[in-house]
Subunit: 338 residues, 2 copies
């Protein structure tokens, strides 16, 4: 491909002039600039970002580091929608986006810093990492600006974006109580997720506010998996047939829970009301359709990118953003019939 020298040669000027002309500097004759522009076009020239980055020591690139980019993610689309948000925002602001995916195997080979340094990303958005992941420590020690998604930790160079998990969960539980339910169980994710802790707190808060005492036997973990949730729900409902409502920490687990209830011969929603969390596509297509707490994953990605770029550009900002959730009433919740 054509390089800046090819353009310079053909235009009969120096590379310096070409560089300045094309980059919009004012100290270049408009005639010369036009001539250079025309020739650049003719030669189908476009500057090598590689070379430019090398000399400018700036890549204008952010990395979306995803731990566990797997096809299973299709079911909740979390990663994809975050990606869309990041991509759109980065595009608007003129940042390049590189997708870096890791898994425990890859992490053995390369440290977080290596990954970032190699590709010279200026900042990182981190998604899908568990709180006990060794990368998390590295992120906090590293001075590469980073925005965590759904992990509320801050430092000089690290911020986060999340949704109001506690509030969302509380809303869900209050909704169930308002429908007359007293024995409300929770299918949570796992203890390595901040969102699980928050949602549990919200569950407890909702019960307390409504004057219902918390029963720890009513809380089980479904690991955010549909199958595990199905299994755990089956056990739970067998052991505690008095339960009339379920709050699930994810829609996907709610799907599993509903299947479990059906298999146990329960009618939904008459025998069991279920609220999910996420508002994934499936939730409006299942039968019964699922009442849920909606969180805007696209905006999560978009806001993360906004925050990160502000950080990169040295703007003084709040290093975190908490998005609101919204309760969506569908068919899976109804009045307590017992």
């Amino acid at each position: 491909m054509a390089t800046i020298r090819d353009v310079a040669k053909k235009a009969g000027v120096s590379v310096t002039t070409v560089s300045r002309a094309l980059n919009g500097y004012s100290d270049v004759n408009e005639k010369t600039r036009e001539k250079i522009k025309v020739i650049a076009q003719e030669l189908n020239y476009s500057p090598s970002l590689l070379a430019r980055s090398l000399v400018m020591k700036k890549t204008k690139t952010i990395g979306l580091l995803v731990s566990g980019l797997r096809i299973e993610g299709s079911k909740d689309n979390f990663t994809f929608e975050v990606l869309c948000g990041v991509n759109d925002c980065a595009g608007e602001l003129g940042y390049e986006l590189v997708l870096i995916s890791t898994d425990s195997k890859k992490q053995q080979e390369k440290t977080y810093n290596q990954l970032c340094n190699e590709r010279k990303v200026e900042g990182v958005i981190l998604q899908g990492i568990k709180t006990d992941d060794p990368y998390l420590d590295e992120v906090l020690k590293s001075d590469i600006p980073c925005i965590l998604i759904d992990i509320p930790i801050e430092s000089d160079s690290v911020g986060y974006v999340t949704t109001d998990n506690k509030g969302g969960a509380q809303t869900a539980v209050e909704h169930l109580v308002d429908l007359g339910h007293k024995n409300i169980a929770m299918i949570n994710g796992h203890s390595q997720a901040f969102v699980s802790r928050e949602r549990l707190a919200g569950y407890q808060g909702g019960l307390k506010k409504k004057g219902i005492s918390y029963n720890e036997n009513y809380v089980v973990n479904g690991a955010f998996l549909e199958e595990s949730a199905e299994l755990e729900t089956t056990k739970l409902l067998r052991k505690h047939p008095e339960i009339t409502a379920l709050f699930c920490a994810s829609d996907l687990m709610a799907m599993g829970a509903m299947r479990a209830a059906k298999k146990l011969g329960k009618k939904l929603p008459e025998d069991l009301s279920v609220v999910g969390y996420d508002n994934i596509i499936l939730s409006s297509y299942s039968s019964p359709s699922l009442s849920t707490i909606a969180q805007d994953r696209y905006r999560l990605g978009f806001e993360a990118t906004t925050l990160l770029t502000k950080l990169l550009e040295g703007k003084e900002v709040e290093k975190n953003k908490v998005l609101q959730t919204a309760f969506i009433k569908r068919e899976s919740t109804t009045e307590n019939h017992r």
Copy 2:
């Protein structure tokens, strides 16, 4: 961050030696190599891919160029699953992956070649482009190796990966005929998609094979959109109440079609059998669950990457790959009751 010179200085050798030591060349004393390795580790050094790429004139990077990376893609997950396949394969083979997303606005600003040259991708996988997109011409003229997804065009540097659309469609139609249906309509996508043409051909082929004559009034376009499909299906079923079965060129359109039928007071599947195409997640959760032609989008991405890298490495290969589809019987199809 530490550069190769920092390592060289600290190790008391030249940068050349460091380079050779770290890159596993044999002509370096093992003792020196060890020493250098230790120091590199201490300094947390990792080579700049930028600088390396610049001098080697090789980036080992492939681009996944997606036209229309939008949140709506969540519904069928096509892009996401292709991305997973590409990512996994690229990872295995040691290629970096950059995600390049365009839309008609961006395409005004930058040509395909510019996009590729700037980022110095060695090859491209192209997804989501319509057959009348101006980029397609550029791709064919460009000498950057490229694999098209679902567009069966070949040239010296261009190949493609697709599924057996015609065969899949034919299977779907034959299934319906075998259930006793005679008046089988088709909700197709749009004429700018190769897959639509192929699936139409398969639909026609299926009918012909079973001795049923083709009626062009039975074919409408739903633009691959749920809403359009719903609208078109409503019109179609009103006009032709004799229709008892529908073949839809995508599951998403099948969802729209089923909704239309329900709103018209039809019982599914008794009054109308529906077959979709894709096997998206939704298809197994809807009610009735959707009989469909499954295509493996992950493998589409994986195979595209395999093909591309072979092309890049100058291996003599078939420049196309057609994946088989599979028919999946669910609840939405049943015997003709008329």
